[in-house]
Subunit: 406 residues, 2 copies
DNA sequence: ACTTTTTTCTCGACAGTCGAGAAAATAAAT
DNA sequence: ATTTATTTTCTCGACTGTCGAGAAAAAAGT
């Protein structure tokens, strides 16, 4: 149902607009804000004054006077208005980062994980300890950290911040919200990793000035297969989802997936699936929960040298991916696809299969194959996405607080 | 990007809210409007006064005084504020309906179509003539018809009101906007038929008071297979799409589809696909473009009597549908599915296959199978959907006109 | 010192919502 | 017939918000 509007909501929306334009274009002067947002100069004055009083914006002198006339006053985020932490959970390590309200990275470290260790307890303890360390190293009070944005592979319930199913812990759930007790008061955001990647890709493409960008898909190739879809809705806002692509049914070929089902895309295109085909292991067994990259590199090397079964394994993986993507574009719409993750180093071997799989649907025949780009540095994308989401969340809270606070 | 807000937009939004509540609950008194919308009584007064002056609302006396106190003044749409026509194009006939701004049906007739006739010209001429007839029979000036809402199977470009690909005309496009010259000035809405059905189903379920309804899918079974997905977005508004489900790749089994591709869902589950399997026609030929219902009934009868190949054909069709639906819930989320169309009369034969296909994915294993309901009267649903969409469009235009008009 | 230029700030007009209470209109009670 | 109770609609003033225009500020050029 529609919801009623009011003058206060107008102010909220326009304040959000000002903060968003500052995020997108960096520190701006009064005039530029007015120009970017379309708001009247007088309105911008009121809003910036308010945000200044709320101690989230600060005035900075223009360093290079350049032209004549009254010098501009530049508004920028007060970097000490709050802090955010991001956590990227992989099967073999966990990355922790800390940034301020201005979006500048203050600290970053990673801790190895033993992927054989499937219990959640050691992990959660290390998690809490690492966050403490993160705050301590930068001498920041834990109460000042307003958002902790976490990503993992697998299925996630973003509302309760619960990890529902993950390749690392299986069906053992992890309740992140429950982990951080006072003095932490941060809001916890938990999302699928590839959702974050899709978000970051959409941002990049939008900044690159792509016209008529409706949607973007990000496909992450690795031990597991992840897909994120970012769409700009009617109002132009970005809404991102992480469908269960890796475990979508590909074909009733009986290939066992580590999720327990048969014929998942991952069972063909995940690292263990490729290894299984290459080594002609029976399809009803899982050869290894975790396949080291060097092992995959060996198979790829053999494939490139002409070894039939290895070549075939990558080809089949590509085919499963291509068919899956053809279903994605059939069920959504044509959209650019960015492929990322450690599996991109084998994309030369996958490409033919992907193209073949894509070509099999009417959607692709009618509208052509979606443009595919390869973006290997997944870690950068994940950080970008985390930052944007966490900062947007902080901005949102700042504006919401205005009404009841003060 | 976000867009700026203003006090005028507030009024637009709230006016829309008032009209929408009148649509949902029927004619209402001042007090009830205030209650349903959450707007203050004073605000409702201003808005209704404005809409009254714009001649879209009228005051009606309360017939049964019931309680004591000042009698209520009921506001209702002025039925003569504008008219709408709906057109439902099927392969064997075209249905035309006319309704007023109050949503009451004024006239309805249908004209047979020769499905062997694949040229667009005779169709478009009949189309224009039928609309003229529709207006004339009710003595309504064609300029008073503000919206014509058209639905067809196949692929549609809703922006330009162009039929891109249809089972009837193939790749021959039909530009509906170009067909209606002055004195028509109606806005043309063109949508996939199953999109309209999904819209209507979402409305019904919402009215039935379903809690936490996120999304609804409608699956239409017939000569071709259609899917519509209706979702309530963050703001609670309904956004409906019609993915290319019927021609999504199901399996590389080589079954030729009439779209020219192989392995489409329709090639297994469309009427001609079922007939092909039942009669053991080679999968690389299309047995008939159009299979009469009596023919299908015969196959179904044989299947129910235990004839193996006929039973198998329906089972395979169900399997293709179930697998396709499992992909839908994997790529979107779990949602109730309403099955409609002439094919529902065979649902007893399809059911087992559908369930089997659904069960093959992790999504269904984790979250259970989506609830499936069968709603045979597709025509009613289509009309409901058309009316709601057309009336919403008219309401929207009324409100938008307020600003520049007068 | 004065002018030009550019930017920021301020003021009054206008549009919108809201709460409270006045006014209206009827049924019941006296 | 008049009064009272009740319910609904209408109206008024306060408040919040945006906007355009012009005043004020602040620097560079002359």
């Amino acid at each position: 149902m529609l919801t009623k509007s009011s003058t206060e909501l107008v102010r909220q929306q326009n304040s959000a607009l000002v903060l968003a334009s500052l995020r997108r274009h960096g520190p701006l002067a009064h005039t530029d804000i007015s120009h970017h947002t379309g708001l009247a100069s007088a309105t911008v004055s009121v809003i910036t004054a308010e945000l200044e009083k709320a101690e989230v914006l600060e005035r900075r002198e223009q360093q290079a006077p350049a032209a004549r006339g009254r010098p501009r006053v530049i508004f920028g985020q007060r970097r000490d208005a709050g802090y955010l932490a991001t956590v990227r959970i992989s099967s073999d390590m966990v990355q922790y980062s800390l940034a301020d309200y201005g979006g500048t990275l203050l600290d970053r470290f990673e801790e190895p994980r033993n992927h054989a260790d499937t219990a959640t307890r050691p992990f959660t303890e290390a998690f809490v300890a690492a966050l403490d360390k993160l705050a301590e190293r930068s001498r920041i009070d834990r109460a000042q950290v307003l958002v902790v944005s976490i990503s993992s592979k697998g299925l996630v319930d973003p509302v309760t911040a619960r990890l529902v199913w993950s390749p690392v812990f299986g069906a053992q759930q992890v309740d992140f919200a429950a982990l951080l007790q006072p003095p932490w008061r941060a809001k916890i955001l938990l999302n699928n990793e590839t959702l974050i990647v899709a978000h970051a890709m959409a941002l990049r493409m939008e900044k690159a000035g792509m016209r008529d960008l409706q949607a973007v898909a990000a496909l992450s190739l690795g031990h597991s297969i992840g897909l994120g879809i970012a769409r700009f809705d009617r109002s132009g806002e970005l809404s991102v989802t992480a469908p269960n692509f890796g475990h979508m049914l590909n074909s009733s070929d009986g290939k066992l997936c580590r999720c327990g089902a048969q014929g998942c895309i991952e069972a063909s295109a995940g690292f263990y699936g490729i290894l299984r085909t290459a080594f002609e292991v029976p399809p009803d067994t899982i050869p290894a929960k975790f396949v080291p990259l060097v092992e995959m590199d060996k198979i790829a090397l053999r494939a490139r040298q002409g070894h039939r079964m290895s070549e075939y394994a990558f080809r089949q993986a590509g085919l499963a991916l291509g068919q899956g993507l053809s279903r994605v574009v059939s069920l959504y719409e044509n959209m650019p696809i960015a492929i990322t993750g450690p599996g991109t180093r084998y994309f030369d071997l996958l490409r033919r299969g992907v193209e073949e799989g894509l070509a099999q649907s009417q959607q692709v025949r009618l509208f052509g194959a979606p443009p595919i780009s390869v973006v290997p540095e997944e870690a950068t994308l994940v950080l970008e996405g985390h930052l944007d989401r966490a900062l947007a969340e902080m901005d949102h809270d700042v504006i919401a607080a205005r009404t009841d606070g003060d």
